[in-house]
Point group: C3
Chain length 200, copies 3
Amino acid sequence: MFHLLDIIGTMAFAMSGALTAMHKRLDPFGVFIIAFVTAVGGGTLRDVLIGRTPVGWMLNLQYVYVIILGFFLAILFRKKFDKLRTSLFLFDTIGLGVFTLIGLEKGIMIGLHPVICVALGTMTACFGGVLRDILCNEIPTVFRREIYATICIFGGVVFFILRKWNLADDALYLVTSVVIISVRLLAVKYKWHLPAFDHK
Amino acid sequence: MFHLLDIIGTMAFAMSGALTAMHKRLDPFGVFIIAFVTAVGGGTLRDVLIGRTPVGWMLNLQYVYVIILGFFLAILFRKKFDKLRTSLFLFDTIGLGVFTLIGLEKGIMIGLHPVICVALGTMTACFGGVLRDILCNEIPTVFRREIYATICIFGGVVFFILRKWNLADDALYLVTSVVIISVRLLAVKYKWHLPAFDHK
Amino acid sequence: MFHLLDIIGTMAFAMSGALTAMHKRLDPFGVFIIAFVTAVGGGTLRDVLIGRTPVGWMLNLQYVYVIILGFFLAILFRKKFDKLRTSLFLFDTIGLGVFTLIGLEKGIMIGLHPVICVALGTMTACFGGVLRDILCNEIPTVFRREIYATICIFGGVVFFILRKWNLADDALYLVTSVVIISVRLLAVKYKWHLPAFDHK
């Protein structure tokens, strides 16, 4: 189940990268690379920073296959994308939840402090999108629109509070991901966002 | 003493990141991330390149706390920033000196060649600012204005010359950081800079 | 022979970085850094991702010296560059072939899957140029013009097909690099490129 969600999240991130890159009129190779980087970028940064090398996707080809599939789906359905926007958004939100959990878990496994684990979870979920935007030469949207990364941090905090209550692992994962996914859906529905600073 | 300067440097770098990000009208989360990345980016790159993982700030929460403090100070005092510019510049210069020394030291500890150690020192001092500018979608100022990184290289060379003379470690650190800090102050006061190339 | 080509490739990449940076009117330090990053960026990313640290150029100063030489050559001959364009292009193409092979080799050495080895080869050959463009604040040209990275992938596939036929290592390297170099020359001569997607 968890693994299936990981696959869905990876594919959704790959598709979101591919669609952004096609919008920038990159060639197919550029589109593929950006799909790839969007999907694995977060996990790669996390693995490099904690010294878990060779990084994850090098040891498990499944990710590569899923990204290739996402790439072709994005190309095939790019013109129908307006109708697909909702499902892609849903996938992306599932990816956000699952990737946060995976990041939290890796941090716990090597005994890092909860604050650092939350940072690892957020990084795993968000850094792919940051790379996508840097490569397409834009200010990363994660820094500007809606409360994307803030939700991952919130989810991570919820995770550690529940963990203190000795919740079983399965329930812990389920509740945390449901929290992240619901808050994101609510945030987008009701247009929650953080105010920008007035600098003057 | 050395440790205190490290703290001051980290906070100054965090504040410089936060102020740049607020200027770009990012939301509070974006501002925090850019403060964080500016403060730890140099050390993180250094640690990753030499294989010292998990990277430094993951094992010592002090950095996280100092950055959070710098973030709030930057927000609170952002409107009075013109008066603060001088003190921030002073902090930033101290950070430059201390971070260069820390980078040099890590390189020496694992037996790298002096040239590489100087590169590590410069990287530790400057890469946070480079990341800040990339994330804010600008050509890194380190490549364009005043002789910022060049001072770190100069400081590193002074360090190794003094080291050959068998100076005690404490004196070595003191002299090197005083050199870096003074050259920077002079460089800004007298507007020293490297000429750009005329390409035509 | 192989080593000599590595040196030539490194120098060509350093010169290409330096020329791009001078064109952007960076100061000499900025130009040097971009030359350095263009030349070693690909190998550094590869080494970090597979956990081969300290990364290659830290353990072998030859790269540093070659890059310094390339930097000065680029400065000296920048005004005659129009006449030099052809030779630089040739060097760059040799670099592309050699760097792809080096990446492939490192992947094989630690037992990674051929698909991942091809990715490592492509990354080694292309990521320096990507970094150069990001630091100069442009959409990486590798994603837009001619079939640059695609050639590395093609070369990597040829390599593994020949390897299955039990070709001797020397012949294998020779044929693969000749294939990469010839395809690139043909691709530029006949303006082969991948079509961009029409997003509408």
